[in-house]
Structure formats: structure tokens, C-alpha cells
């Protein structure tokens, strides 16, 4: 198959040659899309010529304009001949498309002409001016004598150019919408031509470089593609989330994206805590049983391994590395002289610092994304319809997902659109919304009072002895009842408002959040009561403990009067120890987190899975249709899940300082719940009745998270700054305040001048001006951002206006503006003009389309611009003169800036 291989080689060129010069490619394309018609070509030719002239003028400045003109005329000639030469061949090739050869000829000529301009510039660069001059000279003389004798200088140059043109043709052939047969034919001719004459002329120097460039370009594109794929592959759970998104819409997916984000953040917190606190302590700290705080007390040892005790995080759990109390207050541990107490405090602070930074940064980034959105773009539906199918899909399952996701996204857009179109009774709606908010405020106030009341009562109960089960657990019961009933109540009330589901979700989230805050703060208050009680208790125990130790040694000397050496230390299990309120708080948070995990998972299992099972299988033998009727399948509860996640994170932030292990537990929880919930939602839930689009940014969730972060920051900072640490447990034992570690480090480990520097920095005289300065900066930035926002709105309006106007102009029979209409009527000879004008418009458009030098995406801009400027007086005083309309990318479509006289 020798011929075939030949074929193949050429095909290679057809298929693979990269689009080296996008400009000319686009032009060619436009010519084509216009579909034949010799006239525009001719006009275009003129335009090109003038451009050519310019090019050359630039190239050889000494030449006079007159000469240039002459040259132009001369050039026109050989080009015409070129295209004539080709036409017969083309006719032979493409009998089918009889209509086109003319156009194609023009196209080719054009191609060449452009080519020439571009090529010349290139050559000018490459070989200097000398070559240029000669070629232009030749082209001048070309006019008369060309068909003739051997290689004159001029002939040579012309051949050269022709060869280059052919090469260009080869390069661009794939960009032409021709049938393969025709392309092959052209290619073969061009190739033959090049092969034949290139030898005579000597190989083009640029060729190798060009080939190399092309190769590198291909490699680069491939690399980019691979890199993109790699990046996508590196995003965890991307496919899982896409799958959920395709069936349940972007709102449900936004929860999972949020979950994934949380997982990422917690992973960092986890590595901070474990890397700098837990693992150093395990590796280098004293082992279990060496000192009192690392040993289970004697009286608890029997039950310390019991399952029930361990699940309460008592026994061995309590005296493990998971909790604050286990850490020793040695200043440095191990051979690395690791300053564990300092590191502990720093990690505690760093956790908050990092979280704050990440949340705020993400919010800022999301706001960015949300700002330049395509949300209200002009082509929402059209793009969805024509570009949403991904032709790359070659896998049945993916295709199924894609169908689902396209359907879902259409439904989302339809909901949005319906919302826009809804004409409503604005007064009634407003009244209902006010009413709903009033009701909800009442509910919130009521629940707040209820909590207050119950807390008061429980404090009274504390002093009583004979309490029933209800009295003991009253607080918890009321809390969970509120948490259960409140959201449902809100949802019912929210139906009054008839918001778009997306906005309704936000309201719902905000309201439930407010409800839960009461929950959270009651819990905190109770905790602080406990801590205060423990602190009082501690003072007594401290004294008792010291007394006990003394007594132990006294007894020892009494019992062993002969022993002169120091007595053996007391068994750590027997030492009397304080209550260690930090560990208690830590345990409280861990318990809360674990029970939250259990409740969440069980709810999913029972509320979703079991329900789905029952609905699915009992449906065969039931009186009514379970699937369509009452229980039906569950919908995914976005607000509940998001809030669960947010509050859980609050717990982690609050508890992490007292229980470093909590972060690890949380990471595990998030990891499992990602898989578990993904499965649950796909297996047991049905999409929402009105699938709605999530807002572009997750900033509402982030805002909630930020609020919770701030709220959880308060108690922790309060304890660090103002409560004394326990005397016998934790890394700060023996200090007056926890932050004394820092002061100690500054005094002992840093050079003294740094210490004085810190004292200065801590001076209120310095801090207050700094705060003032920051407030001023915030104010300034805020006003700047507001100004930008206004400008943005203004621009958006302008764009919309420009678009409307463009539409009106296109079908300019009826303009929107009544004044304009009247004006038009007043003008003489207007009545019969519009059709002609329109035709002219189209005409101009075609011409404009092929304007050389239109860069890739500039094609249409240019078209618009010249559309307007080509016949500025077509509409009398209405149209603006072309001058001020800058053809820049921004202003291209900006017709809306409009001429002053009109408004």
C-alpha cells in the first residue's frame, strides 16, 4: 500500500497541522460562513490592498506613496491570475458545489494576500530590510512580464511567495469547511508545488523553526489537558458530588461541597494538633503511669476498662493523650527540647487563627466568583441548550448522569424564570411576609424564654434531692423538643412568604440558627457553672493534697526510722488530685460530638433508609400508594444538614483546646459522613419538588460558620485569659494564668531587648491608635467597595441597555423609543428606506466580517462596530458618528453609551 501511505502522509498534514495563525483562520471562516457572493470579496480585496500597502510602506519607508499605489495595482494582477489558475482545478475537484468556486477563489486570493502581508513582516524581521526591498521591486516589475522565461530575480521572488502561500494553504487547510476530497486535492497540489519549487529555491529557513514551534504547541496543549485532568482527578469526591448534583440539583450538591471544604479545613487543624501536640507528647513525654496526672486513680482502676465507662470517656480514656489533663508541665521534653506547653497554647490559638483566615479568605474568593457571574447572562437558555452536552462522553453511565444533570439544570433555570415572571400582588405579599416574620420572632422569643425558664428551674433543682427522671432531664428534653418542633414550625410559616426556594432556604437557615444559638449558649452557661464550682472545690483539694503528701513522707520516716535516704515517691495512683476542670470540659464536648454523630447517623438510617425501604416494599401490599401518597420518600434536608455541620464545627472549635483528640474524631466523622450521606442521598432520597439552583457562592454557609467561629472563640479566649489553670493537670499547671507560658518564654529564652520590645508593644498607648487606624481602614475600604458595587450595577444596566438597543437596531422597523419613532416619521423619504437600509446593513456586515486582522474573538465586535460606522447617516440624526466609538473589547458592544442627543 504505497499509495496509501502517501495519502496518509498528506492527511497528516490536513488533520494535524495546527492552526498557526488564528487570525487568518477566522477570516477564512467568516468568508465561508457568509456563503459565496463575489461582490463582498471584491470590496474586501480593496480593503486588503490598502492594508497591504500599509504593510509595505512600513517595511520599506524610502518608497514613495505613489510607488506603493502603483505596486498595489500591479499586485492585484498576479493575484487574480493565481486564483484563476486555481479555479479550473477546483472545478474539477468539486463539481458538486458549483456555486462556490468563485467565492473560494476570492477566499484563496484573500488568504494569499493576508499571507503576504504577514509573511513579509516575518521576513522583514528575519532577514532584514534588504530582502524586502528586492521583493517589492520585483512585484512592481511583475505586472507586465511574468508568464515567461527562466529564473529572473523577480520570478524567483514570486515563486518564493507562492511557495509560502501554498505552505500557508497546507497549514490552514483543515480550517476550511470543505469535504475531505477537495481538501486532499488542494493539499496535493500545494504539496506538489512546494516540493517542486522549494528545492529550486533552497529550503525555507523558517520551516524547521516552524515545525518545532508547531510540535511544541501540540505538546503544550496536550500537557495542559493532562494537567487539567490531573487537577480534576486530585479534587476528592468530585465525581461523587457531580453525580449527586446531576440528580438532585446544585443546591444539594452545595451541601456536599461545603462538607468537603470543611473536611479540608479540619484536616489542616488535625495535622496541626497532632503534629505539634499529640505526637510529641506520645513520643517524648513521660509514659503512662509515671506521674499522677497520667495514671488512673486507685479507686477507679477496677472499672477503668469497662465498656460503659469508656464510652463515657472516663477511665483510661480520661487519662489519655486525648485530653488536656494528660499533658505535663515540663518546660521542655525529650532530647529535642520541645517546648510542649508553649506549643500547646500556640496550637490552641493557631487553630482559631487559621480557621478565621481560611473562612474569611474563602468568603472573599467566593464573593469574587459571585461577582463576575454568568448568572444573568443574556444567553442562559440558549447556552444550556446548545453547549451543555459534552461530546466527550463515551460511557453509558456518565451519559445517564449527564442527561439527568441537564434536565435538572433546565428545571432549575425554569424555576428561576418562573419566579421572575410571576406577577404578584405586591401588597398582599408584603403583608404576608411581615406577618410571617412577626410570627417567627414570636416563636424565637418564646423559645428563648422557655430555655431561660427551664435553666432557672434546673438550678433550683440542683439543691433538691428527690427528683424524678423528668426533673433531672428536663433541660435536655425541652431543648431537643424545641430543636425538633422549631424548624417544622418555621417551614410552615415560611410558606406564607412564597419566596424563591433559594431565598427561602437562607431564611430558614438563619431562623433555625437563631433558635439553636439559645441551645448552644444554655449549654455553655451550664458548663461555666460547673467550672466555677470545680474551681472552688479545687482550692480545698489543693490544700488537702499538699497536706496528704506531707503526711505521707512524715509517716514514711516514722515507719522506717532506720532509713536515712530519701523516701520512695508515692505511687501516682494514690495521689489526691484536683477535679481538673479542663478535662471535664473536654469530655463534655467529646461526648456531645459523639452523641451528635450517633444521632445524625441513626436519623439517616431510620428516617431515610428505613422509610425508603418501607415505602418501597410495603407499597406492594398497602391500601394506598405509599410512593405517591403520604410517607413517600424523604427529601434531602439541606438546612438541617448544613446547620448540623456548622454547629458541630463550633463544638470542635470550642472543645479542641481541652481535648486535642476531638479534632481527630471530627476528621473521622466528616470522612465517613461524606461517604455515608452520599450513599444515603442517592439511595433513599428523591429530588426536591422544585429543584433550585444554589447561589453561586456558598457564602451564606460560610457566614454562618464565621458567626459560629466567633461565638466559640469567646468562651475559649475567656477561659485562657481569665481562669486559672488546674494546679495538678495539664501543660499549664502551677501557673497563675495559661498565657504565662508566653511571658515565661519571652523572659527566659529570648534576648532581653525583645522582652522590652514586647512590653512596649503591649502598651495601651500603642494599641489604641493601632485599633483606631484599623477601624479607619475598614471604613475606607468599605466605602470603596460600595462605590465599586454601584459602578458595577451601573455597568450592568448599560450592558442590558446596549443589548436591547442592538436588538432594536437589527430589526429597526419599530424602535422602542417613541420619540425616535416620531423623529423618523418627520424625516422625509423615511418611509421607504428601512428595507434598503437593512439590505445595506447586511451588506456592510459581510464586508466587515472579513476585515483582516480581526483577532479571534474580535470578529463580532468588529462587525458591530463597522455595522454602525459604515453608514452613519442611515438613520439621520439618530446614529452616532463612528469616531468616539472605540473598538476596544469593552466598548465594542457598548452601544448603550448612546449618542447624547437621544436622551
Amino acid at each position: 500500500m504505497p499509495k496509501k501511505s502517501d495519502n496518509t502522509r498528506k492527511l497528516e498534514d490536513v488533520g494535524i497541522e495546527i492552526d498557526g495563525d488564528p487570525d487568518s483562520a477566522d477570516e477564512v471562516k467568516n468568508t465561508k460562513s457568509k456563503g459565496g457572493g463575489k461582490k463582498p470579496t471584491g470590496k474586501r480585496g480593496k480593503a486588503d490592498d490598502s492594508e497591504d500597502g500599509e504593510d509595505e510602506d512600513e517595511d520599506d519607508k524610502p518608497q514613495k506613496a505613489r510607488r506603493a499605489n502603483r505596486r498595489k495595482a500591479a499586485q492585484q494582477q498576479p493575484e487574480e491570475e493565481d486564483s484563476d489558475d486555481e479555479i479550473p482545478q477546483r472545478r474539477a475537484a468539486g463539481n458538486r458545489r458549483r456555486g462556490k468556486p468563485g467565492a473560494n477563489g476570492g477566499e484563496n486570493g484573500e488568504n494569499k494576500r493576508n499571507k503576504r502581508g504577514g509573511k513579509k513582516q516575518k521576513e522583514g524581521k528575519g532577514k532584514g530590510g534588504g530582502k524586502k526591498k528586492s521583493s517589492s521591486e520585483d512585484s512592481k516589475s511583475e505586472g507586465g512580464d511574468e508568464e515567461e522565461e527562466s529564473m529572473s530575480e523577480g520570478e524567483r521572488a514570486r515563486l518564493m511567495e507562492e511557495v509560502e502561500e501554498k505552505k500557508k494553504l497546507i497549514a490552514n487547510i483543515r480550517n476550511k469547511p470543505w469535504r475531505m476530497k477537495r481538501r486532499l486535492k488542494h493539499l496535493k497540489e500545494a504539496q506538489l508545488f512546494v516540493d517542486k519549487f522549494e528545492g529550486a529555491l533552497g529550503k525555507g529557513k523558517g520551516r524547521k523553526l516552524y515545525a518545532y514551534k508547531v510540535m511544541m504547541m501540540k505538546k503544550w496543549i496536550k500537557f495542559q489537558r493532562d494537567f487539567d485532568n490531573f487537577k480534576t482527578a486530585c479534587i476528592p469526591w468530585e465525581r461523587k458530588i457531580k453525580e449527586v448534583e446531576s440528580h438532585f440539583g446544585s443546591s444539594v450538591a452545595s451541601y456536599f461541597i461545603f462538607l468537603r471544604w470543611m473536611y479540608g479545613m479540619n484536616l489542616v487543624l488535625f495535622s496541626l494538633t497532632f503534629g505539634l501536640v499529640v505526637i510529641p507528647e506520645v513520643l517524648m513525654g513521660l509514659p503512662y503511669g509515671s506521674i499522677a496526672r497520667k495514671t488512673v486513680p486507685r479507686e477507679e482502676q477496677d472499672s477503668a476498662m469497662d465498656y460503659s465507662v469508656l464510652t463515657d470517656f472516663n477511665g483510661y480514656c480520661k487519662y489519655s493523650v486525648l485530653f488536656y489533663g494528660y499533658y505535663n508541665n515540663q518546660r521542655t521534653i525529650g532530647f529535642l527540647k520541645f517546648r510542649l506547653p508553649l506549643s500547646y497554647l500556640m496550637v490552641g490559638i493557631g487553630t482559631f487563627g487559621y480557621s478565621l483566615m481560611v473562612v474569611i479568605r474563602t468568603m472573599a474568593k467566593n464573593a469574587d466568583v459571585g461577582g463576575g457571574d454568568g448568572e444573568d447572562s443574556e444567553f442562559t437558555f440558549a447556552w444550556k441548550m446548545f453547549t451543555s452536552w459534552d461530546y466527550l462522553i463515551g460511557n453509558a453511565e456518565t451519559a445517564d448522569n449527564k442527561y439527568a444533570s441537564i434536565t435538572t439544570s433546565f428545571k432549575e433555570s425554569i424555576v428561576d424564570e418562573q419566579e421572575n415572571q410571576k406577577d404578584e400582588n405586591i401588597h398582599l405579599r408584603r403583608f404576608l411576609r411581615v406577618l410571617a416574620n412577626f410570627l417567627i420572632t414570636c416563636t424565637l422569643g418564646g423559645s428563648g424564654y422557655l430555655i431561660y425558664f427551664v435553666v432557672k428551674r434546673s438550678q433550683e433543682f440542683q439543691n433538691m434531692d428527690d427528683l424524678g427522671w423528668y426533673e433531672k432531664n428536663e433541660l435536655e428534653i425541652i431543648m431537643s423538643l424545641l430543636g425538633l418542633v422549631g424548624p417544622m414550625l418555621f417551614e410552615t410559616i415560611a410558606e406564607l412568604e412564597e419566596y424563591h426556594p433559594r431565598i427561602a432556604l437562607k431564611w430558614q437557615l438563619g431562623r433555625i440558627f437563631a433558635l439553636f444559638l439559645g441551645n448552644l449558649y444554655t449549654f455553655l452557661l451550664a458548663l461555666f457553672d460547673e467550672v466555677n464550682a470545680k474551681l472552688e472545690e479545687e482550692q480545698e483539694i489543693k490544700n488537702a493534697s499538699i497536706w496528704f503528701t506531707k503526711e505521707y513522707y512524715a509517716n514514711y520516716t516514722l515507719n522506717n526510722p532506720n532509713d536515712t535516704g530519701t523516701p520512695p515517691p508515692m505511687d501516682p495512683a494514690d495521689v489526691i488530685r484536683g477535679p481538673c476542670w479542663e478535662t471535664t470540659v473536654g469530655i463534655e464536648f467529646v461526648k456531645l460530638t459523639v452523641s451528635d454523630i450517633q444521632v445524625t447517623y441513626l436519623t439517616i438510617l431510620i428516617g431515610d433508609f428505613l422509610r425508603a425501604m418501607i415505602v418501597r416494599f410495603l407499597n406492594y401490599c398497602w391500601c394506598w400508594d405509599l410512593e405517591a401518597g403520604w410517607p413517600s420518600y424523604g427529601e434531602f434536608d439541606i438546612s438541617g444538614n448544613v446547620l448540623g455541620l456548622v454547629f458541630n464545627q463550633g463544638m470542635i472549635w470550642m472543645g479542641a483546646f481541652y481535648a486535642p483528640g476531638l479534632v481527630g474524631i471530627n476528621v473521622l466523622r466528616l470522612l465517613t459522613s461524606m461517604y455515608y450521606q452520599c450513599w444515603a442521598v442517592m439511595a433513599c432520597n428523591v429530588p426536591h419538588e422544585r429543584v433550585f439552583k444554589a447561589s453561586k457562592s456558598n457564602n451564606f454557609y460560610m457566614g454562618l460558620l464565621l458567626l459560629i467561629l466567633f461565638l466559640s472563640l469567646l468562651p475559649v479566649v475567656y477561659t485562657i485569659m481569665s481562669l486559672p489553670p488546674s494546679f495538678d493537670c495539664g501543660p499549664f499547671s502551677g501557673k497563675e494564668r495559661m498565657f504565662d507560658v508566653i511571658i515565661e518564654t519571652i523572659e527566659l529564652d529570648l534576648p532581653s531587648f525583645l522582652g522590652t520590645l514586647f512590653t512596649y508593644a503591649a502598651n495601651p498607648g500603642l494599641i489604641i491608635p493601632a485599633i483606631l487606624l484599623m477601624v479607619l481602614a475598614i471604613y475606607y475600604l468599605n466605602s470603596v467597595s460600595q462605590a465599586y458595587q454601584n459602578a458595577n450595577l451601573e455597568l450592568k444596566k448599560k450592558m442590558q441597555m446596549a443589548r436591547d438597543e442592538e436588538k432594536n437596531r437589527r430589526n429597526n422597523k419599530d424602535s422602542t423609543n417613541q420619540v425616535m419613532k416620531d423623529l423618523e416619521d418627520l424625516l422625509p423619504n423615511r418611509s421607504n428606506l428601512p428595507p434598503a437600509e437593512e439590505a445595506k446593513d447586511k451588506h456592510e456586515e459581510k464586508k466587515a466580517k472579513v476585515k483582516p486582522g480581526a483577532a479571534g474573538n474580535g470578529v463580532n465586535l468588529q462587525k458591530d462596530v463597522s455595522l454602525a460606522s459604515a453608514n452613519p447617516n442611515a438613520r439621520g440624526p439618530v446614529t452616532q458618528a463612528p469616531g468616539p466609538r472605540a473598538p476596544g473589547p469593552g466598548a465594542g458592544r457598548g452601544r448603550g453609551q448612546g449618542p447624547p442627543p437621544r436622551r
Binding site: 452536552w389 441537564i406 428545571k411
Partner: protein, 181 residues
Amino acid sequence: MGNKQTIFTAQQLDAYQVSQEKLLFHRYRDLAPQLVPLDYTNQPDVRLPYELIGSMPELKDNPFRQRIAEVFSEDGEGNMTLDDFLDMFSVLSEMAPRDLKAYYAFKIYDFNNDDFICKSDLEKTLNKLTRNELTEDEVRMVCEKVMDEADLDNDGRLSLEDFQHMIVRAPDFLSTFHIRI
């Protein structure tokens, strides 16, 4: 929504970079080894029926496969010669310019070949995309919206110009209208 499931390994992509046509030729031939000769010296007139073309893994899950085949085939019936076949993949390849792609996309979505995308074309497109899962009202509404957005000369149908005007602005047209072989 980047449900990008590529069907090819890196090696195959490499191959595509190096000798796309050979690969394409073999792909073409593999569809019907008994029909397609190995020797193409004398330009045999071989056409593969649409059934074979449409069953290629690249196309078989595409809702528009029949249109694609019809548009690119010379006879308009979806029966393809090797040239048509190469045509198709060169247009759908990564390197084809945007306007070329836009032109062929227009032809693909123009179901009744009248050089305009009219309401019925839109409805067909939409139903293929969503597998008829939208209600009639929704379909009507979407089609109206599309017309409203893209039809610049208000003639109730999309000309090639309207279509290009709209499609060249679409952010992911280039990345989705594209087949890797």
C-alpha cells in the same frame, strides 16, 4: 459540568497526536473489516452504513449521533466514506477553530436542513437532551426563552448568524463540542 469520562488512555492520546489519520483509518476499518479494503490507492467507493458509525464508542452515547453522521456524510443519510469520516473527526478535534465548529454545530442542530434553527428544531434538541423528561409547558417555555435570547432579527428562527453570535460567547462551547479519538 465536567462529567469528563475519557475513553482513552494516555498512550492512545499520544497516538492521536502522532498519527491521527492512521489511527482514524484503522478505527474506520475496524468498524467493518470485511467492507473496507486496506488499499486505498484507487479510491474505492466504500460507504459504511449509519448503524456502524453510530455504534462507535465515541458516538453511541451521544444524543445527536444520527445528526452528526447525517451532517458529515456526503449523502446526508449518515452513510460515511472514509473522507467523511476523517472530516467528522477533524471538525470535532481539539484543534479545529471555533467558527468551523460553530458552523457544523449549527448544521447538527438544524434538524430539518432548512438552514435555520426553528422552533421544532429546538424542541427536538431539547427533548433529546433531556430524554423527554420535561413537560410540554416547560419545553415550550424553554424554546421561547432560547428564541428570545438568541434571535436577533426577530424572525422567529435562528439563522447561522444568530447562532454564531450566541455560540462564540459561550464559555464552554469549545470544550464540549469536541471528540477525542
